[in-house]
Symmetry: C2
Subunit: 247 residues, 2 copies
């Protein structure tokens, strides 16, 4: 028996153990999986890691981890984000829970899917693990993800598409200062369709969350656009006044 085989055997034993243990006790493993969106080069991207798990070796998967016994679900999701990207204070929201019996090869694992939006240009962003890469959302059509992560991703992506039309979440994906063209590019990328420049502008100004910084774009080969920042405080206040917009 080679070294490698022994290791493989140990791995399988561990996985089996997990399975029997879960089944015998009526308890099960719970994980969080984060769909982490970013926006770069006018492209919507998602952060994925190459799986090491035998069955899905080499396949791309979402970033996730088991929830610890003394850890809240949200906290687990934030922990994954912090560990994997170095960022905290990021936008994060629970989307849906996936718990089909056969969804994980290691046994019963119920996973809570979270959606996260981060700014790729943020200097705090640190992707240390070289098995972790950004993938354009478009390119995922041609990739096969591990586990049921394709379905989870689809769910979260559709969730995002709907969500950004009800709440101005997109700002979480942009740098502090941005031009209206950048904002529109973002929305076009998320919604995967062209928008009318003038109506888009009108709509966002009418929301009244954009603050003119007085600055302008630089080093662009055309008339520079004004740079704006998003008034997060104003938005939070309005959200409270609106009351239960979300459920």
């Amino acid at each position: 028996m080679t070294q490698k085989m022994k290791m493989a055997a140990t791995v399988e034993k561990t996985l089996k153990g997990l399975q029997t243990e879960v089944q015998s006790t009526n308890k099960m493993a719970i994980s969080v999986d984060c769909v982490i969106f970013g926006f770069d080069e006018n492209t919507l991207k998602v952060l994925l890691i190459r799986s090491d798990l035998k069955k899905y070796k080499g396949k791309w998967t979402l970033l996730g981890d088991l929830v610890k016994p003394d850890e809240d679900l949200d906290a687990a999701a934030y922990r994954v984000l912090k560990q994997r990207t170095g960022m905290k204070d990021v936008y994060l929201e629970q989307v849906k829970t996936f718990g089909e019996v056969g969804r994980h090869p290691a046994g019963r694992v119920v996973t809570v899917a979270y959606c996260s939006l981060i700014n790729i240009q943020n200097h705090q962003l640190q992707i240390l693990d070289n098995e972790i890469h950004w993938h354009s959302v478009d390119s995922l059509k041609d990739k096969e993800l591990g586990f049921d992560h394709e379905r989870i991703f689809d769910t979260c992506y559709r969730w995002l598409q709907k969500r950004v039309q009800e709440h101005p979440l997109g700002f979480n994906l942009l740098p502090k200062k941005f031009s209206l063209r950048e904002l529109q590019n973002l929305y076009e990328a998320i919604l995967s369709k062209k928008l009318d420049r003038r109506n888009f502008r009108k709509k966002f100004f009418s929301m009244d969350f954009l603050v003119d910084t007085g600055e302008e774009e630089r080093d662009v080969p055309h008339r520079p656009g004004k740079l704006y920042k998003f008034d997060f405080e104003k938005y939070e206040k309005k959200k409270k006044v609106w009351g239960g917009i979300d459920f």
Copy 2:
């Protein structure tokens, strides 16, 4: 590095995505809790059971149960419904998962909240357990629910209020044949506000899911209204054409 350590490292890597140390303490109980809505006497109601758990003895709680090791989440929710109401083929949808560490006195229990709509007049409905009762949603304001079920209920109720404005789910709460007045009463109860009779009528007819049964109300002390039924098939077809309306 010892042999054992190497193996451990491999296991760890293999379970990447899961937590580093695979131990039984990493597993927890998972339950489903169903917010079962009904509509009777022009009032929106919810089905609750008196808790027998020591800490919440006598308090009203949602209907729920632990998820079995070989049972899908949705299946568990359907099982609860069948066991508690005798009904199957009911409307059911996952809403949100609650997993705070201290939410259950018996230890770590993560619960997946489901929202269900049933027709109280349905002859299949059988509430056998005499600890289970219908409560008007309004009256819940003055009741203290067990566990964190107040929060779960609030979430599901707000979810419902938003949901019925995007999808005609209300029909699941009504008998097969109903008048437009009954339908409006239902929506007014759910949304907790008065609606204009004529605009309401216009809106629903324009949706084109109402089928005239040719029958009329009977034994009403005024001009009888026409009775309609909901075209579930047509709705399902349209939903497919719409594509990903929900996330």
